[in-house]
């Protein structure tokens, strides 16, 4: 069922406010009124209105000035200006300043109905568009969940059983195993699937940025806060929020997060009004949260609040039987994307891939196939198209850590230690790359 569109009527004449209010209520809209621009701006700051119908001639701040201020608070606001004095100049000024339309009082009832219906249609279409866009992304991603191995079947079964519940889920697994895809699959199979899935990569943001990203902020809350902005929790209302790299959040943010999870309400940065949101939370991490709790770097109460269900995504080396399926899938995917005819992979190349440990997991395999299609002859993927020569499988490497260290160093050198380009090539974020450099104590040659 479509939600009720909300309208704010701003006019200094009581009879106009009452008439419009009654008219809109009879049409099934939610209506509030303000007798001047100052009161209207206060209402707009504290509540969300889909449409603002404002008189131009008002004592104090006029409608045009109010329009500019509304636009500085909420750039997407639909404002219709009205006046008893038709003037082309005023109309042009209003439209230039971002008004949706301009009407002259008194209105023909049919014109008013059409105007509001058109504005409502635009709002609902924009929302539908956003929901469908999220849904398409989510469905496309779910298609990427490939696997016939017992390990993967177990994961998919878990996804199916937790999807219908509202419980918090922690997805664990090495980097590149497809934790976000699992989160998308849970969302796409849940009753919240028609609402947004909002992803936040906690590791990529500083504490203050993460705070503003999650809770939103009021205009002027900090330098650069030009507009009021909804936070990710607010955007995920009725849907799901996916917090990736949850282990990286600071102790202060852990407390904030715990409070939000317990009350499902929060205050925007720089604001004072409590906002509620109905969301489901799914987290992911490649770290061992339990030992972080034991070491005291992750709050125990937050851990138990988040870890109602744990899904562990197996690394690719533990499901080697899925490699041919994944190779086939990524070949088709990239041939289609690059508008190339479908190609095959020869047996020797496939065998080498099955022997390779894939420390970067599926992400690494996907990159490998994409690269092979780009640089290959366009007929068949062979060993020479894959970066899996003897130099890649170094017998002196005895552990996964050794391998990761060597591999990262190789790519860093390749890009002359340009962190941004290296992180992009490895398809990890810069923070992860810095953490790896620190972990392995890597230094330029």
């Amino acid at each position: 069922m479509a939600r009720k569109i909300s309208i704010l009527v701003v006019d200094d004449e009581e009879s106009v406010r009452d008439s419009l209010s009654n008219w809109f209520i009879e049409d099934g809209y939610r209506v509030e009124c303000a007798e001047n621009a100052r009161k209207a701006l206060l209402l707009i700051e504290s509540s969300y209105f889909d449409i603002i119908l404002a008189d131009i001639k008002m004592p104090g701040m006029d409608g045009l000035e109010m329009l500019r201020r509304i636009k500085s608070l909420r750039n997407d606001a639909i404002v219709i200006v009205m006046t008893a004095f038709a003037s082309v100049n005023t109309a042009v000024m209003a439209l230039k300043d971002g008004a949706f339309d301009y009407v002259t009082k008194p209105f023909d009832p049919d014109d008013l109905s059409h105007l509001i219906r058109n504005a409502s249609k635009q709002i609902l279409l924009a929302q539908e568009n956003e929901t469908l866009r999220n849904k398409v992304v989510s469905l496309e991603s779910v298609e990427d969940l490939i696997g016939n191995s017992e390990a993967m079947k177990k994961v998919l079964k878990q996804v199916e059983s937790v999807a219908q519940s509202n419980s918090s889920v922690i997805i664990t697994g090495e980097s590149g195993t497809g934790k976000e895809l699992i989160a998308r699959a849970i969302h796409a199979n849940s009753s919240r699937k028609y609402y947004p899935l909002v992803s936040v990569h906690c590791g990529a943001l500083t504490e203050s940025l993460l705070e503003s990203e999650l809770f939103g902020h009021e205009k002027g809350a900090f330098t650069g806060a030009m507009y009021n902005r909804k936070g990710r929790f607010e955007m995920a209302d009725s849907g799901t929020i996916f917090l990736d790299e949850i282990a990286t959040i600071s102790p202060k943010m852990q407390i904030e997060l715990l409070r939000v999870l317990e009350t499902k309400s929060f205050v925007r940065v720089g604001g004072n009004k409590e906002t509620s949101s109905d969301f489901r939370v799914i987290c992911a991490t490649n770290r061992d949260l339990k030992s972080m709790v034991e070491q005291g770097s992750f709050r125990e109460d937050l851990y138990y609040r988040l870890n109602v269900v744990n899904i562990n995504v197996p690394p690719l080396r533990e499901r080697v039987e899925d490699i041919p399926l994944l190779v086939d899938y990524f070949i088709k995917k990239y041939c289609t994307t690059m508008n190339k005819p479908p190609i095959n992979i020869d047996d020797a190349a496939m065998q080498r891939m099955e022997e390779y440990p894939f420390p970067g997991n599926i992400r690494e395999l996907e990159n490998m196939i994409e690269r092979a299609i780009v640089i290959g002859n366009g007929k068949k993927i062979t060993l020479k198209d894959l970066p899996l020569g003897k130099d890649m499988i170094d017998n002196s490497i005895e552990s996964l850590d050794d391998f990761e260290k060597t591999f990262i160093l190789q790519i860093l050198n390749k890009y002359s230690w340009n962190i941004t380009r290296t992180a992009k090539a490895l398809k990890v974020d810069r923070v992860t790359l810095y953490n790896k450099i620190k972990k392995y104590d890597l230094k330029p040659d």
Binding site: E13, S15, V16, D18, S19, L20, N22, W23, I25, E26, D27, G28, K105, P106, F107, D108, P109, D110, L112, S113
Partner: protein
Amino acid sequence: MAQQNITLISYGYFGKQFLEKIAEAVKQEYKFPVNFKESHLDLSEFFDPGRRQYNGNKLLHAVEAISRPEALKTVGLFSVDLFIPILTYIFGQALLNGRTGIVSLYRLSNERYGIEADDKLLLERFTKEVIHELGHTFGLIHCMAPSCVMRSSTYVEDIDQKNQNLCHHCREQLSTVIPDQIIG
């Protein structure tokens, strides 16, 4: 105590048969006894010389002020051109969840649009508008169903498109606000 009823008050001349037919249709739709009576108001108080129309908000309050306690709902019937400050004209209006509504014949007749008079069509339009405004007094809002009497009409052609009955959905809504003991 007198049984609660719907009262139609005519201001200006309306034929007896015309009113009886409306009353019958209203009774059929809302299942309440319907009374009709004539009354007089000095309409000059409600006339806006600038617009050469009559202020619907003021008339609605005037009808509200004289409605009798035993009348569950009261509708004032007029034949003058009505307006509210924000709109160029209205066919009628009512207080949502209130006790009072008003409807005017003025813009419902074919002659107003240069078409040959049709008394039957005029009666149908007027009846629909009375039932529509009464619907608002019972808390019904505009309905999207094309044939429902609660569909919003801004032109007379819109009125002709709909029936004089509530759709299933509006009827269900109505049953939640009219308690059984009142209907009974």
